[in-house]
Symmetry: C2
Subunit: 144 residues, 2 copies
């Protein structure tokens, strides 16, 4: 137990977070491959399935991503014909993102992914709830 102990990887809580986050995304990938999305594209589509319509700012606020990430990603989703990008006539600064019928239809194929992923996480219901609560607390800390 020396003064450098805190600097050891195994004593950190941040590193497991970083590692598990990456692990989860890579576990998603086989399922996401079936519907032709990356993880980031998937969470954007999740917001769209729920909201039907949003601008870049809305998406960024919900997903904690900025336009530097979203702009090229949204262009890719548009190229896949899953969304439309149109300027708001009332305020040309706004880019309105909306679902195409193909984008809406993809929801049916995605609907089983959350359960499939939940089965990959071998933790109890209680641990999962606990994890959720702590993470939400940290998100509040970081982003509010």
């Amino acid at each position: 137990m020396d003064k450098y102990d805190a600097l050891k990887l195994d004593n950190q809580v941040c590193f497991p977070l970083y590692a598990v986050s990456k692990g989860i995304v890579s576990h998603y990938q086989p399922y996401l491959d079936e519907i032709g999305l990356t993880y980031t594209q998937y969470i954007v589509m999740m917001v769209m399935w729920e909201k039907k319509e949003a601008n870049v700012k809305d998406l960024g606020a919900k997903l904690y991503l900025d336009s530097g990430t979203l702009t090229p990603l949204l262009k890719k989703l548009e190229a896949k014909k899953l969304i439309k990008r149109t300027r708001d006539k009332k305020d040309e600064r706004n880019l309105i993102i909306s679902l195409t019928s193909e984008g809406e239809a993809l929801k049916e194929k995605a609907v089983n992914i959350p359960l499939a992923m939940a089965k990959c996480l071998h933790i109890s219901e209680e641990e999962s709830k606990n994890l959720y609560i702590i993470l939400r607390k940290l998100m509040k800390d970081f982003y509010e």
Copy 2:
């Protein structure tokens, strides 16, 4: 409560993980800026401070990163004169990474970072321990 509920962002445990992981890294950045490292460079240095010597494979196993990520990153650390990269005379396939005196010295400047970061996480000791245990369980799941 419809069949699409599981697809909502707020009902996912994976998204908070992804968001908190990014949040932590960005909270590290001001401290890391002071010692001129990115987060990934920092965790590589953490392993080096502990092990003194390692090859790319060792680092990858410890950090869950592959050579595609590590090779360019290690070249940058070498350019900063924090590490040396030398081929193993016994087995030329091995690239031996070792600390320079500058790299070793940087440990002194880094030693306060973990505590500073811990103070940023506004969760109780118990929650922190709990989080650590659950994350370690998930890491085992994903990577073993």
